[in-house]
Amino acid sequence: MNTRRSILKTMAAASALTLWDAPLRYAFASVPTQRRLVVVILRGALDGLAAVPPYGDPDYANVRGVLAIDKTQGLHDLDGFFALHPALTNLKACYDAKQLAVFHNICSPYRDRSHFDGQNVLETGATAPHILQDGWLNRALVPLGLANGQSAVAVAQTPPLMLTGPAKATSWMPSVLPEPDEAFLAKVRAMYAGDAVLAASLDSAIALEAEAQAAMDDASQKDMMKKGGYANLTPLFSGAGKLLALADGPRVAVLDAGGWDTHFNEGAADGLLARRLQALDAALDALKTSLGPAWTKTAVVMATEFGRTVHANGSGGTDHGTGGAAFLLGGAVSGGAVHAEWVGLKPDRLRDGRDQPARTDLRSLFKAVLCDHMGVPHRILDTAIFPDSAPAAALTHLIA
């Protein structure tokens, strides 16, 4: 397999630029941890009551109306009260293996209903939109020793805000274009001497691409990308798993999965949302498979910017809400439970009479994963990583 990494060796030897040396040195650096962290951003506001129906709540069937899913429609019971959506069969298997913890009535500190401000708060870890310019996951990379530019990867053309900031990270996507030869890349790199942004990105891409080339079954990846395009999450999740499984590969990965903004014709056991959940469930299974033995050292946290309205709107969908569901899964997770400060679904228990309330702060979940799973020192969680978040204490007993 052609490796782009080798051109770095050649070029670095020939160049005195320090800019050159950094990625080379780090590409071979031993990784300080065997723990893997995957963050899946469910953009668009996932309907938590659809993904994790509280079918045991006496008001559930009534308030959800056309969106309610009946026990006979394939709900996966979790604890006699909550269930998983019928499409989430692989997640159910994780739950049964005590490798999935489910959270309900959970939300970031954001309390308005803009997707984009909500995602900004979710990704920056701040208390309000646009007060921090970098992502909480980026701020965790330096304390974790993973800020070398190769140890944290976004499965995207360009890393999302959560992974953007002073610490270096990279990005990767399955490519269907032929790879240029090393000599050509070397000439391009020489042209980038005066453009720090392009130079840094190219160095990062080349270093990771060498790993990726070694890890991917290129033909099958291309084939998968062609099938389903945007809707097909599996090649992205599978690719992330293969990179994370590498002995000296990345330890942190961020994936984007959109398509949750179900204002119209959401469906219940079947329909639009069911199909999207099925795609996510299949992709998570592919992630697990491609991680292989590294799954036992992995925690995957999935969160969305806010939940949706409890009641259906005028067009068989749901509008923007507050509290919702989140998920923590992986071989390193102590799962098999639903964590919810449940207050029922009666109108006076809902936020503004319409939304699921937010009773748990998402940052408490993120902190638990960073601290108990990845080893971020507890003392910096409330300051450097999530400023002004002391009231949102880290959850406990979530990591095996």
């Binding site: 209903r113 995207a156 042209m191």
Partner: protein
């Protein structure tokens, strides 16, 4: 060739066609502003068939829905027929996209075209929504393209009256709970358009509105839906409209005329002027425009009652827009378009199939680089800032594609002449050197396309 000519062509235009920098060099401001006299070009289908109007598509959609319902009723084996129907409708979007790309490659009014792209990335109808995909091209041609030199309110009214937007943000099915239809069906509001109209399209998220205002706007827009008979695609259904006065941001409106007035008030609100000015400055002046640049646009917008031609002129007349430093990265669609313009693609003489193939190649390339026009992941549209397109994989994708394009060029290409004519004074010595040392013209062109000065505008 002057530096200002090159900046006009690259920053405000779509990248140089052969001779374009030379043409723009003498009077770059005039070269840009004269393009606004007659508006943007009208995209034409590659196979010379007529592109369909929003009204025709509304009638088509109505017919399809009836036919699909009938097929479903008749028997289960008709799934294949339904799939075939949906596939053939998918072709309509691809045909529109091909026409739009081809327009970008060929147009001699690239600034006008850029304005179209800016506004249709502001008033987003994303083809990722399969119902709206059918209309995404017609939406840009009807609600955006004719209005780039008009008043902002005219564009907003065209947008919220267009079937594409009413489908995309789900207003077509929003029903007043106390309307006749609402009482009968028990159905109610859909807040999606009411919210995004204020958050994204007019006031901005901090522009001063509450959840109660979102509901009020949604109530006002109830009954705005599609005309199944065709027409211009829009129809107001009084039986679905929430009756009675509605208070929005302290002012009372009622009925269809009240809704139109409310939309107009949003268009003329000072918060809207601020929101639009900032977005416009980011797109055309700098990733981080100065407060003075934004204020200049904001004042122009307010003082002219949202005159978009005046806004465009104000951006062109801002000295900050002519700085050679801090050039922005092109988005993938801009990048692929600039490459095709530079190389005179598509080239195929009189073979329409070969042209279509090259246009499809460009569409596929933009998609691989993470951007399919008119199909952004959310109603916020594609990001306009460089940071969104500078990630490691994004940079590598552009290089890979540049290499592939270079390999497909004929062997007798004068790469150095293309570079001088296409970049003019923006061409850097490092790129000249790399190109001079290339083994073949195709490789030299690939290096040019991969160069920093070509990736930036």
């Amino acid at each position: 060739m002057s530096l200002e000519g090159a900046i006009a062509v690259h920053r405000f235009g779509l990248g140089a066609k052969p001779g374009e920098i030379a043409a723009a060099s003498a009077r770059p401001h005039d070269w840009l502003l004269s393009q606004l006299e007659t508006g943007a070009d009208e995209p034409q289908a590659l196979d010379a068939t007529a592109l369909q109007t929003g009204g025709e598509l509304a009638a088509l959609l109505t017919g399809d829905r009836q036919q699909i319902a009938r097929l479903r009723r008749e028997r289960a084996g008709n799934q294949e027929a339904i799939k075939a129907l949906n596939r053939s409708r998918g072709q309509i979007f691809l045909q529109e996209m091909a026409a739009r790309f081809a327009c970008g490659f060929a147009t001699d009014k690239p600034f006008a075209e850029r304005l179209v792209w800016f506004w249709s990335n502001h008033f987003v109808v994303s083809a990722l929504n399969l119902r709206a995909a059918l209309f995404a091209g017609a939406f840009e041609r009807e609600a955006i393209r004719p209005h780039i030199n008009g008043k902002f309110e005219e564009m907003v009214q065209a947008v919220v009256h267009h079937p594409a937007m009413l489908l995309y943000l789900d207003n077509a099915e929003s029903i007043g709970p106390d309307s006749a239809a609402g009482k009968k069906s028990g159905k109610g509001l859909n807040e999606n358009l009411g919210r995004e109209l204020m958050e994204l399209y007019t006031l901005g998220v901090d522009g001063g509105y509450t959840q109660a205002d979102v509901i009020a706007m949604a109530k006002l827009l109830t009954g705005w839906s599609l005309d199944p008979a065709g027409g211009n695609g829009f129809r107001f259904y009084p039986a679905r409209h929430e009756p009675g006065p509605v208070t929005l941001r302290g002012k009372t409106y009622e009925g269809y005329d009240g809704a139109v007035a409310a939309v107009g008030d949003l268009a003329h609100d000072p918060a809207t002027a601020r929101h639009i000015a900032r977005k416009f400055a980011i797109a055309f002046i700098a990733d981080e425009p100065s407060a003075a640049s934004v204020a200049r646009l904001e004042n122009t917008f307010r003082e002219t009652d949202g005159d978009l031609r005046a806004l465009s002129e104000a951006a062109v007349n801002d000295p900050a827009a002519w700085s050679a430093a801090g050039r922005k990265l092109r988005t993938p669609v801009e990048y692929v378009t600039a490459a095709y313009r530079l190389l005179g693609l598509p080239r195929a003489g009189n073979d329409p199939d070969a042209v279509a193939k090259q246009v499809r190649g460009a569409m596929g390339a933009a998609r691989l680089m993470g951007q399919f026009p008119l199909a952004p992941p959310s109603p916020k549209g594609w990001p306009e800032i460089s940071e969104a397109w500078s990630g490691p994989d994004a940079v590598l994708d552009r290089i890979e594609w540049a290499r592939q394009i270079g390999q497909r060029l004929p062997k007798n290409f004068d790469a150095a002449a293309v570079a001088e004519s296409g970049l003019g004074p923006l061409l850097r010595p490092a790129t000249r050197t790399a190109m001079a040392e290339a083994g073949a013209p195709g490789e030299a062109i690939a290096l040019l396309l991969a160069s920093p000065e070509f990736q930036r505008r």
